[in-house]
Every structure is written in structure tokens, then in C-alpha cells.
Symmetry: C2
Subunit: 132 residues, 2 copies
DNA sequence: CGGTTATTTAACTATTTGGCTAAATACGAT
DNA sequence: ATCGTATTTAGCCAAATAGTTAAATAACCG
């Protein structure tokens, strides 16, 4: 798959709020299709198709556990976006400052805790309260 | 406009390779619609509509110069994407090394001292092959 | 004013997308 | 084998999208 097609697919996948919400849920950890479907008012087949789109976009991958197909985030798609964005970050000046302060923090902590940027990483917390 | 709608629009806009190419061109500087259209095999009205989509997505803005409507990048949309991505960056560990080496390069390039605040990042050709 | 250039709007068509329901498939348990 | 649960495929429809050409608008030029 060409880089260009992959980006087409990834951005297109991210353009749908239901799919972004699914991704937000998956950021908390692997789950079954049913569990993923719960918060939404749409049919299971609809969810199934959203998942196919996300998978095709390199945003999730799927395993097999009995009759379930647990989904988890695949970072490939996100990294693709991040990399694409890299070209443009120089356009809004803050990059250096941000990187600088981030690095400062890291050095101060010397490999102790993982990124302490903006939000905290709640492993268990249910509310990822995104309106997303 | 809700955050969610804005993201829908931005991601949808970025899902089209023509629009990404337009953005890549605009990263080099402001231009007229005609100039923007040149590299493409599609009609001017088609370009015009792409521009409308990009504008609506907060990715470009337009001025007026005689009968031309020069377009330039609006960082708002890109920053929106970057911010959305922030939630997910923790999922792929590489951040430290990458930031580290990036900063290293920057320091090497603009004379000894670490760029304290807001040093504008020089354009240094290099890296990222653009297939877009 | 009338002409030329730059860009947009209108009207139409083909394709894609997202949703639905009903039916099919895949496993595990009985 | 048959049943029950989990998920996908099929077929249908409505709305959105990307392209087209032709016509409209906007601003400058003589």
C-alpha cells in the first residue's frame, strides 16, 4: 500500500466521530466488538464496518479469542499521521518551546516516570471523558 | 463549531490527496488559486471546491489581492489534529529518542546553546521524502 | 462602458459511505 | 449434531462527495 493511500485511508477513518470514539475507548485497552458497540445507538453490523475501516486504515488490529475478535489499537496509523504532521509543525512556532520543555522535564526525572505531558495516563479509570 | 465537528471536517479534508498536495504547496507560501491548480489534471471549479473544503476545515484562509484570492495555510486545523493526536502519543514509546535526536540536530545547526525560548526553526531541507 | 482575467456557483452524474434488517458464518458448549 | 453467542456478509436506500461543463460574479484595464 502506497504511503499516500494509507494516509487517505487513515484520515478518512478518523473523519468519523464514531470511529474516533472507538479509538478513544481502545486507548484504554483491548475489547470485544460487543463491548465496543455498547455506547452507541447504531447496529452491530454498522460497528463491524467501522472496525473494518479502522483496520484497513492501520488504526486497529484484531485477534481471536473463542468466538470474539478483540480489537486493539495499532499505532501504525497514528504514527503515520504524526509523521505527516511533522512537515507542518514548523509552521506554528511553538514546536521548539514544547519540545524544549518536554525534554527538560524528562531530564529532570531521569528515566523515572513516562511522559508527564498534559494529561495523565489512567490505566483503569473509566472516564476518558472525551466528547469525542 | 464544536470541537468534534471541526475534527470531522479537518480529517475529512485531509483524507484527499489532492487537498494534501495543495497544503504541501501552501507550506511553501501563499499563492493564487490558478497557481495552486496548475499541477493538477482537474478543472478549476474542482480546485475551487477543494479550497472551500480546506477553508471550512480550518486548514487554509483566503485573502484578496485584485481579482485573486490568495490562499495560505491556517495552522488552526493542523494544531487541532496535533492536539487530538496528543492523547495517543503515549501509546508508542519512541517519543523520547525522537525528540532527543531532533533537538540534537537543532542545537548542532544553530550554534552551541540550546535555543532557549521561541527560536524560529530554520528550514533545513533534509529528511522526509514527500510522496504526497 | 466593454473586455479580460480570476474565481465561484449551478446543475448534473457517478461513486462512496453509513445506516438498516435479514441471513450467514465461526466457535464453544451441551 | 444442535444450540447459543459473537461477528460478519449481503442487499437495499439515502446522503454526501468529487468530478464535469456552462454560466455567473468580481475586480481590474482601456
Amino acid at each position: 500500500m502506497l504511503d499516500t493511500d494509507r494516509l487517505n485511508a487513515t484520515f478518512a477513518a478518523l473523519a468519523d466521530p464514531t470511529r474516533r470514539a472507538i479509538l478513544a475507548r481502545l486507548a484504554l485497552g483491548e475489547t470485544s466488538v460487543q463491548k465496543l458497540a455498547e455506547p452507541f445507538a447504531i447496529s452491530l453490523p454498522a460497528i463491524s464496518r467501522h472496525l473494518k475501516v479502522l483496520e484497513h486504515a492501520g488504526l486497529i488490529s484484531r485477534g481471536r479469542d473463542a468466538q470474539m475478535r478483540p480489537c486493539k489499537i495499532d499505532t501504525a496509523g497514528l504514527i503515520g499521521v504524526d509523521h505527516w504532521l511533522e512537515e507542518y509543525r514548523k509552521l506554528w512556532g511553538q514546536s521548539m518551546d514544547k519540545l524544549e520543555s518536554y525534554l527538560e522535564v524528562m531530564k529532570a526525572q531521569q528515566g523515572a516516570a513516562p511522559p508527564k505531558k498534559s494529561r495523565s495516563v489512567k490505566r483503569q479509570g473509566a472516564s476518558h471523558g472525551r466528547k469525542d
